[in-house]
């Protein structure tokens, strides 16, 4: 997968089990859009705690992608007591969505590479 990410944790955990690699990639593809939508909704609802929870959940979703740009941005959304406001988080939303879409494309490329 491209420059920003590697799947070494996933391949190491899979230990040659390519069905497991595919399962995790499929789950990431399934859950990333849901997680993004939930963060967006939580922002629309002005609920900072819900934003934090949803961002935390999304970090778990992408944990095996090692996609640092996205992971670091999610940490900004997730951080408790950081003093950051919903309005400020809203300005990061386009970048979050772009990185998520990028990761989705990278997952697709990876799946093609392994023939799934």
């Amino acid at each position: 997968m491209a420059d920003h990410t590697n799947l070494s944790y996933l391949y190491s955990l899979a230990d040659g089990d390519m069905d497991f690699v595919t399962e995790i990639l499929d789950l990431m593809q399934k859950n990333i859009p849901v997680d993004i939508a939930d963060i967006e909704n939580a922002i629309a609802m002005n609920d900072i705690q819900l934003v934090q929870r949803m961002a935390h959940r999304m970090k778990s979703t992408i944990q095996y992608s090692d996609y640092l740009d996205l992971s670091e941005l999610l940490s900004v959304f997730e951080k408790d007591n950081s003093g950051i406001t919903i309005a400020e988080l809203k300005t990061f939303l386009p970048e979050l969505k772009e990185l998520a879409e990028n990761l989705m494309s990278l997952i697709e490329v990876e799946k093609k590479k392994i023939g799934k």
Binding site: D15, D17, I24, K30, S60
Partner: protein, 228 residues
């Protein structure tokens, strides 16, 4: 070892499930998205090990383990280091950071297996205990015991119509009692669960005695009861 996975994230559940399936001595008996769902299965299946996420919306993993009296072993799996100190206050077996890597997972579950084996050797299953009263050893059937009360360097053991005073600490006698039958309800009191007559606010009636429940033992006491 029978184990249960509790995690609100689908990717995390799949990863931990994969680790469990790779480990010959583990048998997966349930996968749950939140602790509330898992409660029934824990009571019914009596797993040896919970593989538990910390941050979940309905209830945190740490709050969940606080509610148990006779909890299985717990390995907490989380993306944050922040909870480690608090977690070990609740005697969790281990604490793994996400993303889970198999060697670390194997180390944690091996530790749990070793603890289970050593507990099997240590946990008394017998319902009998010999206690030293003056110069004799007296046979005590633990099924007859109502409660135990701390008394400086001694403990009072109450049976239906008698009270024995024995030189012992509460900890020493607690270690001799089957955990499924007895519960420490207060720093100074252990009661036999099936002898509890009534619980009223912060008091338990056992036989003709009323004993206090300490505030931090209220949840474990309530969870030890078969309630309707």
């Amino acid at each position: 070892m029978k184990c249960i996975i509790i995690d609100d994230n689908e990717v995390a559940r799949a990863a931990v499930k994969h680790c469990v399936e790779k480990t010959p001595f583990l048998t997966l008996t349930g996968v749950f998205t939140n602790p509330i769902e898992a409660l029934e299965a824990i009571k019914k299946e009596r797993p040896d090990l919970l593989l538990l996420d910390v941050e979940m919306p309905e209830m945190s993993g740490i709050d969940f383990i606080k509610t148990f009296h006779d909890i299985p072993q717990v390995i907490l799996i989380t993306s944050k280091k922040d909870y480690a100190a608090e977690a070990f206050d609740f005697n969790v077996t281990d604490y793994i950071l996400k993303p889970v890597e198999y060697p670390r997972f194997l180390k944690a579950v091996t530790k749990a297996k070793e603890m289970q084996e050593s507990l099997k050797q240590e946990t008394p299953e017998s319902n009998e205990l010999f206690i030293k009263v003056t110069n004799k050893f007296v046979h005590l059937n633990l099924k007859d015991v109502l409660m135990i009360e701390a008394l400086a360097d001694y403990v009072n053991i109450y049976v239906e119509k008698h009270r024995y005073t024995v030189l012992s600490t509460m900890k020493a006698i607690e270690d001799k009692l089957p955990k499924k039958d007895f519960i420490r309800v207060h720093r100074s009191y252990i009661v036999r669960i099936d002898k509890i007559k009534e619980i009223d606010d912060n008091t338990i009636s056992v036989g003709d005695q009323n004993v206090p429940i300490s505030r931090n033992m209220k949840d474990p006491v309530m969870s030890a009861l078969n309630k309707l």
